[in-house]
């Protein structure tokens, strides 16, 4: 058996090793040498350089970055209804699609047109060197696992929200993405673009006002129908599901992946999976990151998390997500976020501070509020073009780090709703204080063979 020393030779491509052995035995071929000279920036051993030239992924531009003329490439993993939307995101050429449902796959391939690889195993996507960006559009219980595997395969990542299903998964994604120097984004955008749901304004002026202390400190932010945010309580699971035969097009075992095995019922999978704790977390899972990420940004909490969380609501089923009435998150400095599932009308401030309130449409009880906001310094503009971020290796505005902290709010809320008791959280250790059961929900073992 031929064995390659990983430390000495990049392990990826067998052709290259075969070539290495060729070189030892017969010397470099003329063609190979020619190609080698074109890449004089590679100051490497003859073996490794030769191996590279056999399978160039792309030619580097003069600055050692991707040349602007080179097209980025992408693959979409999970091509259900949302995945089909990702097929159309511009900026990179689609090379592969992946889904565990043959019908999804067929349909995506029809949309994608000829020359696109279709597979049901995401690992076949990750092993392809010519794929630059991986879109992860599976249900959330797969997000962390595929994100980490993609980072370790050298891919940049565009991941659907919620970023991860547990807090521990999120920590691991941050670690893998940063260690491998990957560019990562979560697919929500309200912190940097567009009207923030029903609030009637973008986030930027709010952020300016809050950072400058116009409303004072600490602040209380309320997310309810009355301030423009609908918690979508129709995303609930069924507490009684009868097993049904798995349809032939679905690889149910792979769909479950790291999740516990439970007998198949169509309500568990496609679209309605949101109603089950094993895969997501109801309306919180669906809308949580959209609504909470900008709030983390407004409160300048990108590097920390709340220290308390508590929920009011009916008891939760161990499998099916139910509804809730109210959630409260509190940070160490006294700032609070209220997720109000009940109040639907009335003039409720979106942000309430000791110096004043901010309502929908950027209205405030502070005189001359909008003028004041205009005079404040603008925040440094973050990178909001993912394709440019990938090309120039810049951190995206909503990345693994702040994305994980935003998703932690969702995951804290889920645990509080399930346990129904006030919880204290240590934002540094990212574990609950004095609550073993809650910590067992922070980190949940995966079903073999999957692991983080």
């Amino acid at each position: 058996m031929l064995i390659t020393d990983i430390g000495m030779f990049p392990a990826r491509n067998s052709k290259m090793h075969a070539a290495s052995f060729c070189i030892i035995l017969g010397g470099a071929s003329a063609g190979m040498t020619n190609r080698l000279t074109r890449r004089d920036f590679l100051k490497r051993t003859a073996f490794a350089a030769a191996s590279l030239t056999l399978v160039p992924r792309r030619v580097l531009g003069g600055a050692g970055f991707l040349a602007p003329s080179d097209e980025l490439t992408k693959a979409v993993i999970g091509v259900g209804s949302m995945g089909r939307v990702h097929l159309t995101y511009p900026g990179a050429r689609l090379l592969a699609v992946c889904d565990v449902d043959a019908n999804h796959l067929k349909r995506a391939l029809e949309i994608a047109g000829p020359g696109v690889l279709g597979t049901r195993d995401f690992r076949e996507v990750l092993e392809r060197e010519n794929v630059d960006i991986v879109h992860i559009v599976t249900p959330p219980h797969w997000h962390a696992l595929i994100s980490i595997a993609a980072a370790e395969a050298g891919k940049d990542i565009w991941c659907e929200k919620p970023m991860t299903r547990t807090i521990a998964e999120g920590q691991k994604v941050v670690e893998a993405v940063q260690r491998n120097g990957r560019i990562f984004r979560v697919n929500t955008w309200f912190r940097f673009r567009g009207t923030f749901y029903g609030l009637g304004t973008t986030v930027r002026p709010i952020k300016k006002a809050v950072s400058a202390g116009l409303l004072g400190w600490p602040l209380r932010v309320t997310l309810s129908r009355a301030t423009g945010f609908d918690w979508k309580f129709y995303w609930v699971g069924k507490t009684h599901l009868e097993p049904q035969p798995v349809p032939p097009e679905l690889d149910y075992d792979m769909w479950l992946g790291p999740a516990p095995f439970k007998p198949y019922n169509p309500h568990r999978v496609h679209i309605t999976f949101r109603g089950y704790w094993d895969y997501d977390g109801g309306g919180l899972g669906d809308m949580g990151m959209h609504y909470l990420d900008p709030v983390q940004d407004i409160l300048d909490k990108d590097h920390t998390s709340p220290v308390e969380v508590e929920a009011e609501g009916p008891q939760q089923h161990p499998d099916a997500c139910g509804t809730w009435r109210r959630l409260r998150l509190r940070y160490a400095d006294g700032c609070e976020i209220i997720l109000d599932g009940e109040q639907t009308e009335g003039r409720v401030p979106f942000i309430k501070g000791p110096e004043g309130c901010l309502f929908r449409n950027l209205e405030s009880d502070i005189p001359g509020f909008q003028e004041k906001v205009a005079s404040l310094p603008d925040p440094e503009p973050p990178e909001t073009d993912f394709i440019r971020a990938v090309r120039l290796r810049r951190k995206f505005a909503l990345n693994e780090e702040n994305g994980h902290r935003s998703c932690t709010l969702v995951n804290l809320c889920k645990i509080a709703v399930r346990l129904g008791r006030p919880l204290r959280f240590d934002p540094k250790a990212q574990r609950f204080v004095n609550d073993e059961e809650a910590n067992r929900l922070v980190s949940q073992p995966m079903r073999a063979p999957w692991h983080l």
């Binding site: 067998s14 970055f65 050298g154 009684h240």
Partner: protein
Amino acid sequence: MRHTRASRWKAVIAASCLGIALMGVSVPAFGAAQSLEEETLRLVSAFPAEDSLQRDELASELLKLGPEAILQVCRLLRPPGPEDDAKARFALNGIVTYAARNGAETQRRVLIKALHRALEELEAADVRAFLIRQLQLVGGNESVKPLRRFLLDPRLCDPAAQALETIGTPEAEKALRASLGKAAGKCRVTLVRTLGELRSRKAVKKILEFTENPDPEMRRVALFALANIGDPRAEAVLSRVPVAASSYDRTRAPSLYLLYVERLMESGYRVQGTRICRRLIQNYTAPQDIHVACAALNLLVETWGERGIEDVFRAVESPSGELRQCALALAERLGGPEVTARWVEKMTRVPPESQAQIIAMLGRRGDVTALPSLKRMMRTGEKIVRLAAVPAVKRLGGPAVIPDLIDHLETEDAEEIAAVREALLGFPAAEVVPAAVEALEKGPPLSRAALIEVLAEKKARDAADNVLALSESDEPPVRRAALAALADVCGPKHLPQLIKRLLDATDPGEVRLLQDAVAGAANQIPEAEERARRLLDTMASLQGEKKILLLRPLPRIGGSQALETVVRETQSEVPRVRAVAVSVLSQWPDFEAAGHLLSIFRSAEEAKLFYPAVLGYVRLVAESGLDEQEKLARYRELLDTREESEARRPVFSGIARLATEAAFRLAVSYLDEPDLRSAAAEAAGRILINNEDIRDRLPRSEFRDIVHKSAGAVADETLRQRLDALLRDILLEEGFVPLFNGRNLEGWKGLVADPVRRARMSPEELAEAQAVADRRMRDHWKVVDGVLVFDGKGDNLCTVQDFGDFELLLDWKIEPGGDSGVYLRGAPQVQIWDPAQWPEGSGGLYNNTTGPSSPLQRADHPVGTWNTFRIKMIGDRVTVHLNGILVVDNVVMENYWERDKPIYPVGPIELQAHNTPLYFRNIYIREIPRENEKANPARSVCLSQDRSDSRRPEEGE
């Protein structure tokens, strides 16, 4: 003994109690005399609790009843199936959560004991899995023994191992390890995975045996486990990868190796690990591998902290921008000012691309000692360097560098100007406005325009006079930027001047900007009714069309006097003033204007008056707080008020925004009105797309027909595609299959002669003729934007497959004088033609000679728009609906090719080419099994074999 008792319990529950408890009928409390069973069932039936308080009360009472009661709750669990055991699951999980809280050790023990007993007694695997998952939440070391017996059970080893992993004690690790020798298959994979997660050094020797296992999952898990354990014995298998390994395993190998190295360094082997990391950085330089070098560098710095700085400096020499960026991300937080000095020095000796990266890092690093060098680079570097230096200098220097940044505006380069503008916006108005005002007079025009934009963004009202002066500049960029800024900087005192400028302005672009400025300045007046006063006063003194200039900004200012004036001007003698006044009224921001718009709508004679009126009225109603029913009533009234289609069409944009079935029905009722069809379809389509509940309520066939009809009529391409997709989903659900995939001609072939002549050809002749026909097909039938397009030359397009009985759906479109048809089973035809030339319309069985050949009525949509056929053919009888209207009712289709024979039993569908361009889309077919096929499944297999033969009748004979 136990077994017998368990059986008795089960019998009791099944016979009497389970039903009561689980159906949610509460059992009345019987007081102290009540049995344990009854009390337990009473409590269980109260689940799910309304809140955690009630949950805790119920759980506490159940726990007080002792382990026997908890066991009884467990016995109410059922494997997933027809019996609903949700209450038992709520109850048990409620007890678990209650007993798992901090400081409830006694209660937890009662619960654990009962769960252990239940695990013994209850045998259904799904029930056990549920119990194990509860133990995973609440169990401790005492649960190791009861769990270990499931580690070899393929149905339960996963939950058992996961629970043990969570418990995580040395005993748990030991239990897993002890089972490893006996385990096989899936359970072995599970055990190795879990031992890897628990970093069991004692398992290393055993796990090493699995690294060459034939099962790839086993090998992968074994390698992961060894890497995560980080024992040097695994170095040999982790540092090498067999060339024969799969592509994925080779991709993954370096990460596993690095995980191993990380663990190695954690346990003290730092020198060894460092050597490996440096070797990886040195060797992994290819673009697709650079992340490995990056990870190795990160690991070095994580291990050595500040002492890793030399490796970081070395990595910045890399030709890979990606590795440099990776190193510089680490450099942000390493070392103090002396390291900053080294970076500054380094910066001077690297190529410009690297300089730019280092500068950006120094900006983020925040050490101001770098500022003088960065300022110098901002002046002297190449463009890429200067662009990076601007934000870095801004960050480090604060307001003190505003003059440097403004000096930097001495350039014609738009990118650099944009970078400085962005940097300046990052300062508060108090700092940046005076400096910007001072610099307004000098510099290149684009730079001065950028400064004016900064003043506008900051709403620098103190600078209004300067901006006003510049708005008369001769330099176009300056003049334009200043005019655009007026709305943000001017106040009430500038109104006279602005109004005068507006009345004198001639350039339409400048007029618009000055109107914005007037509105912006007027809106600075605190009292709402005062805002428009000066405009209204001036307007009173104006004659004729001049008034228009001041009318236009009024909707943005508002107020009841302004409204009054506008309403008055809608009666103006000057036609243009009248028209502009109506248009202004139609933009009015509040509902007050609605009544006026409605009366204009009712009484106006010209479309240029009633059209904007209805647009404005519909908008105000849509944005109003009226409830959906009231809104719909108003729209209905509009539709009933005027006959003109221009007057009615805009109403549908309002209807489209409603989310009620009544609104949907109203839109649908106009789908057959030729001039409103498109607008109505758009409304119906949007309501359907946006409201799943309305979709769900509609009967399937009606839903399908409306979607189909709407998709054919909408003008908006995106909406049409979404409706087509919706249609496709419904049709697939109903058993239709697409004949046309929207991308290419897959499933179609060119026409060869006719069935009679084809039957006479030899297989070779036919194959040759088919190849020629297919080439000809590709020349003349094309797919353009998902539509099948025929260029007017060439022959019929035939399905590759033959069909017997079927229902066919298809959309078609022709041009003036167009002529086509749909052949059924290879025979002509369901007619398509231009009704302007053939007034009977399309859809008839044109070639019938004995039976009827004309459609029952003309149901064509205008030429150039989409039409929909639904064609059903059973035996020799054909029914055709054109645009939802029955045009051929169960008529025998005659055999055109062989008049003495009945129509062929099977044959292709063909789209007839008749020398005119044609368009088709949404072609779906549902095959209808024949009676004898249904009656005898065995026969149906035979038939389908016959059918596959008959697909090429030409070859068969």
